[in-house]
């Protein structure tokens, strides 16, 4: 990992958030590094990985992510996560304020693109969660259903029927 990082040029770590690397060129995207530890399962397990080159947060919920389709981005093969696990992560991670709202709207965008097999996988993962996590996830779906729109994000008003159908599918 350190070898790979040493080959990255044109980026410097943000002083406010050292796990975020900012580009010298505004046409490039920022890089947000996050850690994954296969031993973790939930938010309470998360920890800070202290490292002089790249300190980062290791999130327990990232273990729901499974490798999915690979896209080609300018010659770089980028593996995307499967939608079901990403949905679980987005709907259970407790972020605050605008970031939390945007996370829920990202979940809505994912739901809008999910096929039946993705939803079935999502339901299967949901049924394996502890009871309090299932309740938290349903609560966040309910909040998503009642949210006001944000600019440049999926419209929660348009997605209400879809969210209601997902809640009905998941509820006991």
């Amino acid at each position: 990992m350190r070898d790979a990082l040493a080959r990255v040029s044109g980026y410097t770590p943000s002083s406010a958030e050292p796990s975020v690397w900012l580009p010298d060129d505004p046409r490039r995207l920022e890089i947000n590094f996050i850690g994954r530890d296969p031993a973790l399962r939930e938010t309470a397990d998360s920890y800070v990985f202290d490292d002089s080159k790249l300190p980062l947060l290791v999130f327990g919920l990232l273990n729901f992510l499974r490798e999915g389709a690979v896209i080609d981005a300018g010659g770089v093969r980028v593996p995307l996560p499967r939608p079901a696990g990403l949905l679980i992560e987005k709907l259970l991670t407790e972020r605050s304020g605008l970031k939390g709202e945007r996370d829920l709207l990202v979940a809505l965008g994912l739901l809008m693109t999910c096929g039946e097999s993705d939803l079935a996988e999502f339901e299967e993962l949901f049924r394996k969660l502890p009871a309090d996590s299932r309740t938290m996830l349903l609560a966040n779906l309910a909040v998503l259903s009642l949210m006001q729109p944000l600019p440049d994000m999926p419209d929660p008003h348009r997605g209400r029927k879809l969210v209601e159908a997902v809640i009905a599918r998941l509820r006991p």
Binding site: E17, P18, T43, A44, V48, L56, T135, A142
Partner: protein, 113 residues
């Protein structure tokens, strides 16, 4: 580095609170969750008068228990649009305004089971 530790501390605190809330789901403290879920399955809501609420009761409709668990209690009738009695007119009310309504009809996306 301290910003990461601070973020982690805040995230864990929020998660602990949400976990506590989740454990209240079936208890009095869970009424907000139950109300949110009820509203999530609601396509639109109609504000009705106390007289209209009484007329619905006489016609055999029962308010949803969630509304009765609030203080002050609210008569929230979940009724499919096609069976709302024609004499009940009501007026459209935004879901976010529902706590202002002493009585309302909640029209679900799909017919209640």
């Amino acid at each position: 580095m301290s910003s990461l530790h601070e973020r982690l501390r805040e995230m864990k605190a929020r998660a602990a609170i949400r976990k506590w809330e989740a454990r209240q789901a079936e208890l009095a403290g869970g009424v907000w969750l139950r109300l949110q879920l009820l509203l999530a399955q609601t396509r639109r809501a109609l504000l009705i008068t106390p007289e209209e609420a009484n007329a619905l009761r006489r016609a055999g409709f029962e308010p949803n228990p969630v509304g009765m668990q609030l203080e002050p209690a609210k008569s929230l009738f979940v009724i499919a649009e096609e069976i709302v009695p024609p004499e009940i007119v009501g007026s459209e009310i935004a879901l976010r305004e529902i706590l202002r309504a002493p009585a309302a009809i909640l029209i679900p996306f799909s017919a209640p089971a």
